[in-house]
Structure formats: structure tokens, C-alpha cells
């Protein structure tokens, strides 16, 4: 069934298409010249510039806080939703529930952003909460779409694990809750880690939804980057991108190794 040279070449071309722009961006972040596309010598000055830009640092700190908070909320909600979808075969409103869980995955960002903003405004004028918009509203918005991603990741892990372990625990007299915390949770832990990481990076990355639901004075990192990029290519954005890509690459690498390590064990159990 090998099609000789065609598949490898197609795959190689595809992967270079995926990586060439990122690699060139990383290379040019070390460029001395302000012209990002003409190489004029190695320099790390753009990194220095980055760390002396208070607006950028403030936005980065805000984004990290939002990402950690919303990933954590989404972790809890997404795991609960996944447990419900995998373990409760039938319950009232299951179709609506599974639709609500997975729809945010594909919902265009502009719709989600606008819808949440209009909700927050309507809530503020009728209930008096949330007061204005800022970090809180961004966290709520991000937690909502991250829940969908966490749920997908945890769902796939829950549906391919050995139920007999849980049954054994229950037979030995453990309550469902105790079984969940002592048996289920340790087994799905790698999925929880990658679900949280996924939520964290998606939140860190979101421009459109945050632009709708943020208020004055709460610009996230993508919002600051977007306004810089709109003005043209700038080398300090290259430097920032390199740092973010580096951190993410390390994180994904670590998560992948974790998951691969836990897999052979599962096969034996």
C-alpha cells in the first residue's frame, strides 16, 4: 500500500509549510536591524527592549493571571461535564447538554464575544453585577470556551479506560465519590494536565472574545500585540513571539512525554 515517493514528499512539504514561517520569525527576532526581513547581524537587543516596556509587561501579567484562573475553572467544569457525558448514558436534556458543551468549540469568536458582552451589559443593568468589565468578565468568557476543550480531552481519556478498576473499588465498599477521587482521578490525571494546559494556552491566545468583554484599562497581551502588529512588523513582537513559542513548545513536549509514559501502563492494566 505504499505510494512510494508521493506521501513522504507531500508530508515533508506540508510540515515545512507549517514550520517555515515560525522558524523565520524566531531567526529574525535575533536580527540587529529594525527591518525584520533583512539580516544585519546577531543581537538580543529586542529582548532587552521587551523587558523595558511596562505596557507590554502589564498586559502579559494580566493575561497570565486570566489564563491560569480560567483554565482552572474550566478544568473543574469540563471534567464534571465529561464525567456526565461518558458515565450517565441517559438523562433528561442530554442532547441539549452535549450540544452546549461542544458548540463553543466551533462557534465563531465574534459571535461568542458579542453574545457574552451583551449578556454582561444586560446583567449589569438588571442585576447590578458584574460591575463594569475587566478581568472578571474576561475570565468568565474564557472559562466558558475552555470548558469545551477540557471536556473533549477528558472525555476521550474517560471513555477508553478500564471500568473494572472502578467496579472493584465499589465492590470493596468505596462510595462513588471516594472511587472517583481515589481511582478515577489518578488515572485521568494526564488528561487533566493536558486539558488545563490547552485551556491555558487558548486563553492566553484569545484576541477577539477578550476585545469584546474587556473594559478600559484591562488590555490583554493579544490585544496589545494586535494593536502593534496592525501598525506593521516590529522586531520586539518577534522577540515576544519567540519567548511564547519557546515556553509553549517546552510545555507541550513535557505533556506529550507525560502522556506517552502513562500509556504503556494503561495497556497492561
Amino acid at each position: 500500500m505504499r505510494r512510494g515517493w508521493f506521501l513522504p514528499i507531500a508530508a515533508a512539504l506540508g510540515f515545512s509549510f507549517l514550520y517555515a514561517p515560525i522558524i523565520s520569525l524566531v531567526i529574525f527576532s535575533f536580527n540587529e536591524s529594525k527591518l525584520v526581513t533583512v539580516w544585519s547581524g546577531f543581537s538580543t537587543k529586542w529582548y532587552g527592549e521587551l523587558f523595558s516596556d511596562p505596557q507590554l509587561l502589564g498586559a502579559a501579567w494580566l493575561s497570565l493571571q486570566i489564563a491560569a484562573l480560567s483554565a482552572s475553572i474550566a478544568l473543574v467544569l469540563g471534567t464534571l461535564a465529561a464525567v456526565a457525558l461518558v458515565r450517565f448514558r441517559r438523562f433528561k436534556g442530554r442532547t441539549l447538554f452535549s450540544g452546549m458543551v461542544s458548540a463553543p468549540l466551533v462557534m465563531p469568536d465574534v459571535i461568542t464575544g458579542l453574545a457574552l458582552l451583551l449578556l454582561f451589559v444586560a446583567m449589569e443593568s438588571t442585576l447590578g453585577w458584574p460591575r463594569g468589565r475587566g478581568m472578571l468578565t474576561i475570565v468568565i468568557a474564557h472559562a466558558t470556551f475552555c470548558t469545551a476543550y477540557v471536556c473533549v480531552v477528558v472525555q476521550s481519556r474517560l471513555s477508553d479506560f478500564d471500568r473494572s478498576l472502578e467496579e472493584a473499588a465499589m465492590d470493596l465498599g468505596a462510595s462513588p465519590l471516594r472511587t472517583f477521587f481515589d481511582i478515577t482521578l489518578p488515572i485521568i490525571a494526564p488528561a487533566l494536565v493536558s486539558g488545563w494546559l490547552l485551556g491555558f494556552t487558548l486563553s492566553l491566545d484569545d484576541l477577539v472574545i477578550a476585545s469584546f468583554v474587556s473594559g478600559p484599562g484591562s488590555s490583554t497581551l493579544p490585544m496589545v500585540i494586535f494593536s502593534k502588529v496592525k501598525l506593521g512588523v516590529s522586531p520586539d513582537v518577534n522577540a515576544l513571539a519567540t519567548i511564547i513559542i519557546g515556553i509553549v513548545a517546552l510545555g507541550v513536549l513535557a505533556a506529550t512525554i507525560l502522556q506517552l509514559r502513562s500509556r504503556p501502563k494503561k495497556a497492561r492494566a
Binding site: 500500500m1 508530508a11 466551533v106 457574552l116 472493584a168 494586535f226
Partner: protein
């Protein structure tokens, strides 16, 4: 692992108090199921379903100066509650050429980009599915890695690549080829969508392709089919759920895309996500933006349903 050694059961005294907690909850009629469901159901109702209803409501209001910048649907006048609904936003959507053109061009751009993504992604997914175990994990990680890397920064990386004096044109200049104008064209938007959504296409394709039974190909070859014939009449039909799921995962978000057309496209690149954005942020016409969103929702509902069916087929097989 867990099965290897004796299960260690701590004496009941040291049991975590879960059993007692559960018994007490059961006495007041609260079951474990309800506890699991209550938080995600409430959250999604309040922050996903209700907002969509609010959008629908506000799409029936009109723009107004003040806070909030739209007219109230319900008003009390002389003791009677009045409900005022305006259809003007929707009428405008169908009569103003800008909106119709933006919808059509969004669908066209998203569809063409989806087909290109499929053509590039299919051989990649196939190659990964047919590679050895060790390579497969590495290649899969290489597909997933960009997915974790900032979307905004990847679009930005493309601008550096396609600019007038960008990497591609510098490369072409080595061969004495005139620089190409790529930025601020529809072409750049296609490249942007294909580039950023390629992993979404490859992953479901890979999931269906890797599960295909190799003996089917052997049988087909034994019966005298050429590789191309085997591909068209065995592989392609069997991978249909993956093709549909992958295509919808690209097509649906591409329709409402804002970042790609605004960074890579030109002023003539009309996409509905951008129109909604401008309506909201530039014109501050919230009711009109809400109507645009509702109409966009109608456009994506059928693809979303297709996706749900295809996804369950991808998972079940």
C-alpha cells in the same frame, strides 16, 4: 500497575468522609448525578445559551444614544407593559448589498480555503497514519505543536513571510524573479486560513485513516486494482467521516474569521466577521451587530450539525 498488588483497604476509621457525606446528601434527595451536573449545566446555561438569546433580543432593538446604546424591548407606559420589536436590522441585512456580499464572500473564501486545506492535509494525515510507530508519535506532535502556538502570532509570522520584502520574495529574488504582491490580497487570506487551520483538518483525518484495516487494501490489490483505484474506491469512501469532520472544523470558524482578513486581507476582502466587528466597535451599532451575528449563526448551524454527526462517526468506528 494497580492490579499487580493487593488492594490496600484502610480501616474504616481512616476512610475519607465521602461515604458519610453522600449518605447525608441522599437523605435530602440530592443524588451524585445531580451534583456532577449542576455546575456545568448552570454555567453553560447562563454563559452560553442565555447570551445567544440576549443577542436575539437585542437584534430586535434599535440603536440609541446612551447606556446601554440600544432601545429597551419592554417598556411600561401608563401601567401597561409594552413590547417593542424592530425588524429593521434584519430588513437592512437583506436590502443592503454590503451584508449580502459579505456573507457570500465569507462562504466562498471559507469553502475554497477548506478545499485547499483538505488537499494539503489529506496526504499528510495519510503519511502519518502509515508511518512506523516511532515516527507516528513524533509527526503527530509536530502537527499538534502549532495548534498550541499562538494563533495570532502564527498569522503575524505569515505577514513577515509574504510581505513585499519578505522571505518568499527575497528567495525569489535569488533567481531574479520579480517580487510578488501577496499581502493584502484574497490570496493571503487563503494562505492564512490554510496555515492556521491545517492541524484541525489533519487530526480527524488521521483518526479515521489510522483505524482502516490494512487487509482491505491488500484485498483490493489482490483483486487487481491499481493503487489509484484502491484509493478512490476503498480509502476515500471509508475516510469520509474524517473528511467531513475536518472540513467542518475548518469551514465553520473560517466563516466568522476576523484576525486573518484584518491582518492579511486588503480593504477589499469582505468577510462577515470583520463586518460584525466594525459594526460593533466602529459604528457602535450594537443591535445591527447582533442581527449580523444571528444571521451568521443561521449560516453555521447546518455545518455544526454535520460536524456533530461526523464526529460521532469518527469516534465510534
Amino acid at each position: 500497575m494497580t492490579t499487580a498488588h493487593e488492594p490496600t483497604i484502610p480501616p474504616p476509621r481512616r476512610l475519607r468522609p465521602w461515604n458519610a457525606v453522600e449518605r447525608r446528601l441522599a437523605r435530602v434527595g440530592i443524588t451524585g448525578r445531580m451534583l456532577v451536573l449542576v455546575a456545568p449545566v448552570l454555567w453553560l446555561l447562563v454563559f452560553f445559551l442565555v447570551p445567544l438569546l440576549v443577542v436575539f433580543g437585542i437584534s430586535l432593538a434599535t440603536k440609541q444614544f446612551g447606556r446601554p446604546p440600544y432601545s429597551a424591548l419592554l417598556s411600561t407606559e401608563e401601567g401597561t407593559v409594552q413590547l417593542t420589536l424592530h425588524l429593521s436590522n434584519y430588513i437592512r441585512l437583506f436590502t443592503d448589498n454590503l451584508y449580502v456580499a459579505a456573507y457570500l464572500s465569507s462562504i466562498r473564501i471559507a469553502a475554497i480555503a477548506t478545499i485547499i486545506t483538505l488537499i494539503i492535509g489529506y496526504p499528510m494525515a495519510y503519511a502519518i497514519a502509515r508511518s512506523s510507530d516511532r515516527w507516528r508519535n513524533i509527526l503527530l506532535m509536530l502537527v499538534i505543536l502549532p495548534f498550541f502556538t499562538s494563533f495570532l502570532l502564527r498569522v503575524y509570522a505569515l505577514t513577515g513571510f509574504m510581505r513585499g520584502n519578505g522571505v518568499i520574495n527575497q528567495f525569489l529574488a535569488l533567481f531574479g524573479i520579480e517580487p510578488l504582491v501577496m499581502m493584502q490580497t484574497d490570496f493571503a487570506v487563503y494562505v492564512g486560513i490554510v496555515y492556521t487551520y491545517l492541524p484541525f483538518m489533519i487530526l480527524p483525518l488521521y483518526t479515521t485513516l489510522v483505524k482502516l484495516d490494512v487487509s482491505l487494501f491488500e484485498a483490493s490489490a489482490d483483486l487487481g486494482a491499481r493503487p489509484a483505484r484502491t484509493f478512490l474506491s476503498v480509502t476515500l469512501p471509508l475516510s469520509m467521516p474524517g473528511i467531513i469532520a475536518g472540513s467542518m472544523l475548518v469551514f465553520i470558524p473560517a466563516i466568522g474569521e476576523f484576525v486573518i482578513p484584518s491582518l492579511l486581507g486588503g480593504p477589499g476582502t469582505l468577510m462577515i466577521g470583520r463586518v460584525l466587528w466594525d459594526e460593533f466597535f466602529t459604528n457602535t451599532n450594537w443591535p445591527r451587530a447582533a442581527a449580523v451575528a444571528m444571521a451568521m449563526l443561521v449560516v453555521v448551524v447546518v455545518p455544526i450539525m454535520l460536524l456533530q454527526r461526523a464526529q460521532s462517526a469518527v469516534v465510534e468506528k
